[in-house]
Every structure is written in structure tokens, then in C-alpha cells.
């Protein structure tokens, strides 16, 4: 049976152009109607290191980048040797045979060598060492029997009109690689079931999130560069003229969040993005947003901690940092998107909750989710923007109470410049007008009332949240519990379980604060439970116990910086049942 899916890995060093090769291959696939998922494994270094990018493509929706490789494009000798162990029997290595000399003893005999004499293939077309990637990609397209014209178009789009020469060089080189493969390399039995009429978008979590912010009407994005959130800054900057969004890199994360609070106070939807270290610096101002009831969306894309930790690796260990962000009790919402698609919708939801309830909303993403590419069906672009209750005219009693006591705790907001709505927003405790009460006069009664008012909003946010969803059969022997970016890999495992007729179901928790009401019941009626988390202490597990008293029975924690693999989940589940 010919294979209907393929896993490609491109391995080399930082600076070898791996990302663009990967992106090109991804586009070729997705424009052929294939689904795909790609993950980039790299280190905190600009040149060198051990880098690879792996793409899995199939006509069915792909949930992980896979664990085994069909084709390896090795860009240097070292990576050739390191990576060849991950190739499936019958798989192949494409490599520049001018530079790389395979040590046959170390290579499994089932693996097919596809040497590419790059010098000879491209002859005088160009000299850039990165061209070896183009040769290999061209060859691969042939080996997979994909449409060359598709590749040519991807190259045309990538270089655009401005880099005409580079474009032409790459076109020729890729064709040379394609032709070389045609004549000199063995055939492989792949049938990728392409559909050239069904072109799919491919994007990363950060891109989906950025796009979500545009749909949500975000007008101000402030950030300080930090992996894995930086690509939001880059992408939004590059699109700012088109979108009319002001994108500001400030001097540090403290300035970032205070600026965004200022812009939001002035009435512009505002967002900030960072990772754990920068989030630490933002915590004081998260309380400020809570206390002044200024809407704000805060992205924390988690990476391996503690401290600087593993800057280019993934982890889910900032949940309690988000829960504990800033002193005192105040309302704040924490949402963890699960997939690239979910990044888009969660961002819009975050903006709407932030505005409707006038509070900070924290989006907890992670490096894997932020940076991996995934094909999606197109999004729903009929974004519903809910800016909450806004006072646009002078109040009739001429006494605007910015923090008016209301049944929901939500007090209609006014933007500065609105007639008759002058008020003070203060980080000090205040009364319903916004006047400070910590100053000459401390008023325990007013203090209690205004605390109650603010906190009441959380009850209503909770009511707004959807009912938690249980995936799979109702009467399972084991319920998997998870949050964030592990959704996809568990979904793939679930697929396996259902094929094997194993009665497993899956509870994925998206809303961390407030905590959804239905979860306790689901857990208490489950037969057995397994929590799957990318951290050491089991942060969601702890949160669940805290919110429900329920203790999850089995645990699968991973904190080595790598995303979960399907096999790990399947093995664990097999151990239990």
C-alpha cells in the first residue's frame, strides 16, 4: 500500500536556512490540499547548534509532527549522523554529496541514500550555500510526486518581484534538483492524495493569535522581544501599515504593560505579549489593570523555566505564575488556547471578555503552540466585537460614577474626552466615583463594597463560559485531563484508542480562571483519571484539586523541553488500563 502521509525532517545548524526550506515545503503541501503540522527544534544560539524542522503532511488532519522520519534532508555531516537513526525503514536521506560523506556502517541498511552532487547539479546557476536546500527540496518534490508548478509558485511568492534575480536562481535550481531526482534517484511509493483546488492556510499559533487580534480590533500592541512571543511583535509590525495597528517595542516589559494600560484607558483595544520572565515584570501592572478596571489582553507564551531556563524549548509551567500575578485579590481571567485555530478564536474571546468585564485577560500559550505551523480550515471572519457597556454621552444626573455599583459589578466605562464623564482611575482603593479612600480617610465599609463589586464580575464571567466538553465515550475506563497545546497530541492518541477500542475519553480544560462549573462533575463521575502536563509539579492537577477537591489519580508529566509524543501517551495509558 502506498503511503498517504509523509514526514520530512530538515536538519542542520542555525543559520542554514532551515526555517525557509520548511516553510516552502509546507506551502507546497498545503497548496496541494494537504494538511500538515511542523515543529522546529532549535537552541538559544544564532549560528550553529543542532537544529531541525520536521513536517508531517497528509490528506487527513495532522495532529503531531510525528516521531519517525520518511525523508531527512541533512545539511551537514554532523546532522546527517545524528538524525539518520530517526528514519523509518524504507525512508531516505537527501544530502549534498559534495560536502557530506556517509559512514555506511552507521546507517541502517533499510535506509536509502539519495546523494545530491549539488555542485554538478546547479553548475553555474548560483553560489549561495543555501541553494543546497533548494536542490534538495526540488528533488524531494519529485520523489513525492508533487506538482512542480506549485513549488515554482511558492518560490515566486517568497522572493516576490523585488528579488527577481534571487527568485530566478531559485527557480532554476529547484528545477535542476527536480530533474536530477527524476533521472538519478530511486522511486518511492507515496500517494499523498493531493487536491490542487483546495488550498489550505498554514500558520503558527502566534500568527493565528495575531490575526485574531486584528479581527478583534486591537489597535495597540506593545512588546519587548522575548522568545517565543517575539514573532507576534515581528508579524504585527510587518502588518501595521495595512492594519493601522500601532506596534510599539518599549524599553522593557514594565513599560510595555503600562503603555498598553494607558492606551486601553484612552479607549483603544490593547494587547501585550511576552514569556515568563517578562511576565514576571508585568505582574505589578496586571494588578493595576484589575484595580483600575482597565481591559487588557496579556499573552504569556510559556517556555522552559525556571528563570531563563530553556529559552527555545516548550513547557507549561507558568500557570501558578498567572494565577498569582500581582498582590491582593482582584478579578482576572486566564485562558489557555489549545490549537492554532483556537489561538485565533481565543484571542477574540479574550478581547471581548476584557472589555465586557473590564479586567485583564491572560492568554497562556507555549512555545510549541506559538511556533509550530499547522494547516487549518479557514477561520470564521465574522468577528463579533463586544466592547462592553460604554458611556458616550453626559450622564443625565451629571455625576458620572466610573465604578458605579451594579448587579453584575460591571460599571459602564467612559473614554477620556467624553463629555461629562471626568473621573479618576486610581491604583489606590477608591469609591464608586474613583476618589481615593486610602488617603485622608480610610473607609472600611466602602472598601468592602468596592471589593465585592469588583470580585462579583468573576461570577458573571464564569456564567459566560461554555460548558466543558468531554471528548470520546461517556463511560470510559480512563479520562485524560489536559490543558493548552497538548490537545492535538492527545487527540491523535484518542484516535488510536478508538481504533483499538480502548474506552478512553478526554477532558481538555481551556478556562483556568474562573474555573468552569461542570468540570467537577465530569471528574467525579469518571472511572479513573490521568493528567497529562508539560511541567514538573502538575500545575493543572493542583488547580483542579484546589477548585474541586478532586484528586487526579495518575500523572504523566514531562519537563525536558520537548513536546509530548503520541507514543508516550499511549504507553502511559496502556500501563494504567
Amino acid at each position: 500500500m502506498s503511503k498517504t502521509e509523509v514526514v520530512l525532517r530538515v536538519a542542520g545548524a542555525a543559520g542554514d536556512g532551515i526555517a525557509s526550506s520548511g516553510e516552502a515545503f509546507a506551502k507546497i503541501c498545503s497548496r496541494s490540499g494537504l494538511h500538515l503540522l511542523a515543529y522546529n527544534s532549535y537552541q538559544s544560539v544564532i549560528r550553529g547548534g543542532f537544529i531541525w524542522l520536521q513536517i508531517r503532511a497528509s490528506h487527513e488532519k495532522v495532529f503531531t509532527h510525528g516521531n519517525k522520519v520518511d525523508f531527512l534532508i541533512a545539511l551537514n555531516q554532523r546532522e546527517f549522523e545524528r538524525n539518520c537513526v530517526d528514519i523509518v525503514p524504507g525512508g531516505a536521506i537527501l544530502y549534498n554529496s559534495d560536502k557530506i560523506k556517509p559512514n555506511k556502517d552507521k546507517i541502517n541498511e533499510n535506509i536509502i541514500l539519495c546523494p545530491l552532487p549539488v555542485g554538478q547539479i546547479i553548475k553555474d546557476i548560483g553560489r549561495n550555500p543555501i541553494l543546497q536546500n533548494t536542490v534538495a527540496l526540488g528533488a524531494l518534490i519529485k520523489l513525492l510526486d508533487l506538482d512542480f508548478e506549485n513549488m515554482a509558485n511558492v518560490i515566486r511568492d517568497y522572493f516576490g518581484k523585488k528579488k527577481q534575480t534571487a527568485m530566478e536562481v531559485n527557480l532554476q535550481v529547484s528545477k535542476a534538483g527536480y530533474d536530477y531526482a527524476d533521472k538519478n534517484l530511486p522511486q518511492f511509493d507515496f500517494k499523498l492524495e493531493t487536491d490542487l483546488d483546495n488550498k489550505r492556510p498554514v500558520l503558527t499559533g502566534n500568527q493565528a493569535l495575531s490575526l485574531g487580534s486584528i479581527s478583534a480590533g486591537c489597535k495597540f500592541y506593545a512588546a519587548y522581544p522575548m522568545t517565543p512571543a517575539s514573532s507576534i511583535l515581528h508579524w504585527l509590525s510587518a502588518h501595521s501599515i495595512q492594519t493601522g495597528m500601532v506596534v510599539k517595542q518599549a524599553e522593557d516589559e514594565i513599560s510595555v504593560i503600562n503603555m498598553a494600560i494607558g492606551a486601553s484607558f484612552a479607549g483603544a483595544r490593547s494587547m501585550v505579549g511576552t514569556s515568563g520572565g517578562g511576565f514576571s515584570l508585568m505582574t505589578e501592572a496586571i494588578g493595576l489593570a484589575g484595580q483600575t478596571e482597565t481591559p487588557l489582553v496579556i499573552i504569556n507564551s510559556m517556555r522552559g523555566g525556571p528563570s531563563t531556563g530553556l529559552p527555545t524549548k516548550t513547557e507549561q509551567a507558568d500557570l501558578f505564575q498567572a494565577i498569582g500575578a500581582s498582590q491582593g485579590d482582584f478579578p482576572k481571567v486566564i485562558i489557555a488556547p489549545s490549537t492554532v485555530e483556537d489561538c485565533y478564536y481565543s484571542t477574540i474571546e479574550a478581547f471581548n471578555l476584557a472589555d465586557k468585564y473590564q479586567l485583564p485577560v491572560i492568554l497562556l500559550s507555549d512555545l510549541f503552540l506559538s511556533e509550530h505551523m499547522e494547516s487549518v480550515d479557514s477561520f470564521n471572519f465574522d468577528a463579533i466585537i463586544d466592547r462592553g457597556e460604554i458611556v458616550t454621552h453626559k450622564p443625565s444626573d451629571n455625576a458620572y460614577r466610573r465604578y458605579k455599583f451594579t448587579p453584575t459589578g460591571v460599571s459602564p466605562r467612559a473614554f477620556p474626552g467624553t463629555s461629562g464623564t471626568i473621573f479618576q482611575a486610581t491604583s489606590d482603593e477608591h469609591d464608586d466615583f474613583g476618589n481615593v479612600i486610602s488617603d485622608v480617610f480610610t473607609d472600611p465599609e466602602m472598601r468592602t463594597k468596592i471589593m465585592d463589586k469588583r470580585m462579583k464580575k468573576m461570577d458573571f464571567v464564569k456564567k459566560d463560559l461554555p460548558i466543558p466538553k468531554l471528548y470520546g465515550t461517556d463511560d470510559a475506563k480512563l479520562t485524560l485531563v489536559s490543558w493548552g497545546s497538548t490537545f492535538n497530541v492527545i487527540r491523535e492518541s484518542m484516535h488510536f484508542f478508538s481504533q483499538e477500542n480502548l474506552p478512553i475519553n478526554h477532558l481538555h480544560i481551556k478556562y483556568l480562571a474562573p474555573f468552569q462549573s461542570g468540570i467537577q462533575k465530569i471528574l467525579e463521575t469518571s472511572n479513573d483519571t490521568l493528567i497529562i502536563e508539560g511541567n514538573f509539579t502538575g500545575q493543572l492537577s493542583k488547580l483542579i484539586t484546589m477548585e474541586t477537591g478532586f484528586k487526579i489519580n495518575h500523572t504523566l508529566f514531562k519537563y525536558d523541553g520537548e513536546p509530548f509524543y503520541t507514543e508516550e501517551i499511549i504507553d502511559k495509558v496502556r500501563d494504567i488500563i
Binding site: L211, M245, E251, S255, A263, A266, A268, A425
Partner: protein, 291 residues
Amino acid sequence: METESKKISDYKTNTTPTWCPGCGDFAVLRGVLSALTELQINSKDVVVVSGIGCSSNITGFINSYGFHGLHGRAVPVASGIRFGNHNLKVIATGGDGDGYGIGLGHFIHAMRRNIDLTYIVMNNQVYGLTTGQASPTSDKGMLTKSTPTGSLEVPVNPIALGLISGATYISRGFSGDPSHLAMITKNALTHKGFSLVDVLSPCVTYNKIQTYEWFRERVYKLEDEKHNTRNLDSAIKKAHEWDVKIPIGVFYEANQATYEDDDPGLKNGPLVEQPLDNTGNMSKEIMKEFI
């Protein structure tokens, strides 16, 4: 109604200032109020931002929008408000600890941007609200609760920092000369770009050295010396005078494009006024890049 001429009382709130009797900050408040009155700015178009400190309580006493934020962070919030709505007149305020201590980085980086806002610092060379510790402008040797054997640090020179960091209106006032202070405040408010008003504003409770008398013996007006406010070099020289003679007035001013002028995102008017009805289509269009 709104076109009637506004009186100083229109710019005051009902809250009585909580400062100690004699505190220099009263004069700063008066300076702002009279500048607003002279300029006849609409209250609803003004936002006063502050940090935390005795001085930062000023937001509560001015009848305009107020944002009384975190210690040291007035300038980023003020900048953000300008980003959100650059039709607003934004005045950042605070103390020397707030602005030149914990907030020093923001202060300098904001000046580099020449954002169009006015920053008024009530500089009393001490931490007032926390009951009298050394501040970044405390003189070397000053005895305070936190430096009982004398501060060991060279004081921050905000004027000089402004001069080398890109601010385009750099001035100093003295609470003991309220009308002069009101005048430079007014000019700062009309200046386009980042304007700094550093005010010698005595803390009568915790600073027993830099008193009104101490300053009165030393201050003189730059304009009386025909100081050329367009000359950076002589401004820097003037910025280094202290101890014996202390200049007040405008050290330097320049006409320069502001950040808001140059940021392409602000070309279509204030962000708060941008329509939100086409955002989905915008995304839909951009989505094509991903195919």
C-alpha cells in the same frame, strides 16, 4: 455652555489637597491650574497621570481625567494614553523618587521618543510619602532615615539627562516662585514634543536642608541672564550649576517632529476613533498570505 470662559475654579476638584501645610506641591498644583485656565483647555480633553508619592496625589485635585497608577510608571502610562488618543492633552506628574529613581529608565526612553506630553516632576530631594528616605536627587552626604551616615551617591541630574536624551523642552521651576512656575508650565503645555518641568518643590516635613530659604538664596532666572534656549552646549553648562547658584527657567527648547507625527499607525487620527466594523475583512484579506 462649553464655550464660556473657564475660571481657575473650573479646573479644581472638591477634594482638599492632603499635602502638609507649606508643601511645595501646592504651588505646582496652582501652576497647572492657572496654565490650564490661561490656555482655556477643555477639562475633558486633559488627562493627568501620576505615579505614587505625595506629589502623585495631584491627580485627585485637578478636574480632568486622572490616572493615578503605579510608583515609577507615570510616563509609560502617559505615553500609552497618547498612543490611544493623541488628541488628548497629557500631563505626567510625580516625584523625584518616582520619576528619577525607580522610573529613571522610562523617563530617559520617553525623552528619546519625543512623545508629545508634559512631565512635571515635584523634586524635593527626598521620599516624602514613605516618610523621608534618600531620593535619587538627595545631595551626597544627606542624612535620612535610610542613610543615617549620609547618602553616598552623586545625585541624578534630570536636566542634563533631558539634554542628552532628546527631550525638546527642558525647564526648571521653583515652588517659591509660583507665577514663574505657572509661566513655564504653560509654555510646556503648549510645546509640541516631550517637555520636562523639573520643580524645586520643598518637602517641609522631611527635607530640612533644601528649604524655601535655601533655594531662595540660590535660584536665579535663566531669562535674566539672556540664556539662549536653543543652544545645547550652554544648556549643558547651566545644567551643572547647583549648590551655589541654581538656574530656573527654560534650559533648552527645540522644534522637532514628535513620535506621533512620525508613527504611520497614527496617520488616520486617534486609535480610539478608528472604526471596528471592517476588522474581520481585514483579517480575511491577510489570511491569503498564509495560503
